[in-house]
Point group: C3
Chain length 342, copies 3
């Protein structure tokens, strides 16, 4: 979610002003709706009456039906499904319009401030007793460090980041826009809460989608050296309790990792990858985004996961398939090639 602790919006805007400042003119807003006050942006699930939200295409339909958002930017196809209490603003290209509005609510300078460790005028960080902080660390304004936690040299903890008790934060680690539980171990050189890779108008103007979510690291998680875990774009990236992440892994924005998962080194999970509890991800596995691995499923090393897999699946290959099917394919090709000449 867009946590105002990390990203405070630029203020309260009348809906009509918001569209004017965003330079979006191809929408109709009734004079009654024009004065609706908006202060923040949220995904449909968490949006409240002061929030503006997005329903870009049919995958949003379910969340749209129960949203409490004050305003929803919506495609023509979904316009009928906006709840009565929300103002529907029909857009030709809702996603692009939404990004323009996000940039009014959260201008680039404010976003940058959110990750600059020291906020002028803000309170000092709160360090509980029994914390060990090595040299040349930077602990951001209003950050909170729990008892017994050790922070290595050159670590940078962003403003408002909360770190629990008895954690071990290695040297040269950076953590921003994140909440970290107890007994978490983060190895040297890890990047938590960095910007996700989100763009519109690919290969042309490359419009940046502001990255306004958080990273949540639950208790007893361990993260290997030089791994990178993005914060969410609007919702959160979550690493569930007692899951263990190897070195040089990339976990992208909005992924949700369940409890007790193992993610081996060099795996890469694209945006909004869902792993249910106890999933095993082999070394250098990749996923496309927006897929779910069911509870206890296993992806063998280097599998390329391109779709949902149910609980208990055992998959491998590119694109990943049931491992038995894959071996059958390998055997067929091997048999055919035997004795042929190139």
């Amino acid at each position: 979610m867009v946590d105002t602790k990390f990203f405070g919006s630029a203020g309260e805007f009348k809906l009509s002003d918001l569209f004017e400042l965003a330079e979006i003119s191809d929408v109709n807003i009734s004079s009654q709706d024009a004065s609706k006050l908006i202060t923040n942006a949220q995904v449909l699930d968490t949006a409240q009456t002061g929030d503006i939200s997005l329903a870009a295409h049919k995958s949003y339909a379910k969340a749209l039906s129960t949203t409490n958002a004050g305003v929803v930017l919506v495609s023509k196809a979904l316009a009928d499904q906006v709840p009565d209490d929300a103002i529907a603003v029909i857009c030709n290209d809702p996603h692009t319009s939404y990004v323009k509005i996000l940039k009014v609510l959260f201008p680039a300078k404010r976003r940058r401030l959110a990750i600059s460790p020291i906020i002028p005028g803000a309170a000092k960080p709160e360090i509980e007793s029994g914390v060990t902080i090595a040299d040349y660390t930077t602990i951001g304004s209003e950050a909170h460090i729990g008892q017994g936690t050790v922070i290595g040299p050159n670590a940078v903890i962003g403003p408002n980041v909360k770190i629990g008790r008895n954690c071990f934060i290695g040297a040269n680690v950076t953590i921003e826009c994140s909440l970290v539980g107890d007994d978490v171990s983060i190895a040297n050189g890890v990047r938590i809460g960095a910007d996700g890779f989100g763009w519109l108008d690919f290969g042309k103007s490359n419009i940046k989608i502001p990255q306004l979510g958080r990273t949540i690291i639950q208790s007893n998680v361990e993260i290997g050296a030089n791994t990178t875990i993005d914060r969410g774009a609007l919702d959160d990236t979550i690493i569930g309790e007692n899951s263990k992440v190897g070195a040089m892994v990339k976990i992208s924005h909005g992924s949700k990792i369940g409890r007790n998962c193992l993610i081996a080194p060099m795996a890469g999970l694209a945006g909004a990858t869902i792993l249910e509890d106890g999933v095993l991800i082999g070394a250098n596995v990749g996923t496309v985004g927006h897929i779910t691995m069911g509870e206890g499923s296993v992806a063998h090393p280097r599998a390329s996961i391109t779709k949902d897999w149910p609980a208990g699946s055992k998959i491998a290959g590119t694109p990943a398939q049931n491992i038995k099917d894959l071996w059958r394919e390998y055997a067929v090709v091997r048999r055919l090639a035997k004795g042929t000449k190139k």
Copy 2:
């Protein structure tokens, strides 16, 4: 090996006390054996009379036959092969029991201390003449830096680490639990001696295997930016003389790289990968663990190495095979697909 310079054990334990503290009750220890004193843990090859060691399954048989370990945790199947001078403790699940004992010998707090640069009360590091140390570096207690070596800004050298002469250690590098030879060049952001990714009870309780070994970087090695080289779990990770490792490579715990190897960027070597001398590893090659590439063998970019390959092999593909066989397979599939419709 578990080098007491890096990981000092919590003390000397009577064998019976060790099992009691580790809460392992499903073993039989004779009253005579119960008072045997144990101070450390080592792999079978290097274990001495005060050490406890592990023989979990048949791949341990050869080393077991010649071990000098005082005590060996052993599976029922291997019990007969424990040398007469060693005490055999038969376990249902020797690996899990061994991990429990390691956690008594080396409690988490002591392990953490080993990688915290400054040990209270320990001696200062020893810096030879002609060493250049940039700003904001942390040189651990009792570390040793050889003449002519340059250490870049924000580097962190762990306690007891030895670095040879005329080395170049880049900015933001971290080195812990390691011995580094002469004329070694380590680029910015490299992590040497980090924890390996070792777990038991996958996807359930995820029991951590303590990582107690070292990393040994021999002379004339060069390591590219943001690469990560784990220390061993119990034995050592070794990078042999004059081998060159590219950027963003991951070399996992217990791997042994011979002399004059080239490991191109983004390769990932899983635990206990053995490369003999002069092996060439292409970009983004991956290995499963516990395999050996023979002298002078070549793995083409992106090969996925799943088994041993003899000296002089030239391999490619997933799973890796002789490159000629691979091209033959590609040709067969291409021919079959020509003219078909999807």
Copy 3:
């Protein structure tokens, strides 16, 4: 190019002295040519009369025909094609001889100095007004930081590096031998301008090819966390205007990225990869070096690009091929394997 701001040569050498110091004896240099003065090395395209250049094999022929180099090390096959104004030195192994000469012109100690932030006796960096510099940063001698730029904690900016206006340089970033435009955003832990992975005599003596080029980051580029972008060997690595690079990407020496490209996380571009404008590179795509992707072409995630592809191509697979052909192959194999047993 070898920019004397970053790599000043060891001096002016008579051609005969240069070969003697480099211990190259298998060449014929006329007594007239022997006194030719050489001060620097450049690729054929940019070399001038005081420069020594290389034409190792037929791919150099085109650039050779128009070079202004004073001296060219050349293979026998290309000797006839050296322009009249240049001195041709015919070598059995021109590449190895050239590397030996580079090591005389740019001895290892000087190369190291180029990336050590503070050069004794050199001028201080020039910081424009309105620059924010966090704690524990190191800004190299004679570096230049443009107005409005923010530099995060523990960042290291090498000597003579130029950074434009309104840039955001994250925490723990290192930048050396580089020129950076305006409005560039570089996330935490990025390495810009590191050594490329260039060697001769693979797997035997592993002779290092000195890395003497630059990295040029044009305006409006954004680079994700823990990414590594090498500087060129002799020419430049270039990231074109408004291109966006994800986290944990590796871009190797001498690559030229056009404008408006998107390079997704964990992609790896080998040396001298050329992307024309608007190319889309999916996550974990790899390239062999010396290939060109035409304007607006698209490589799907994990494609392994092994040759040139024209503008507008849509490719996938290993080795990468037209995506429609790939799906046809997948379908054929799947059909054949159905019903078979392993």
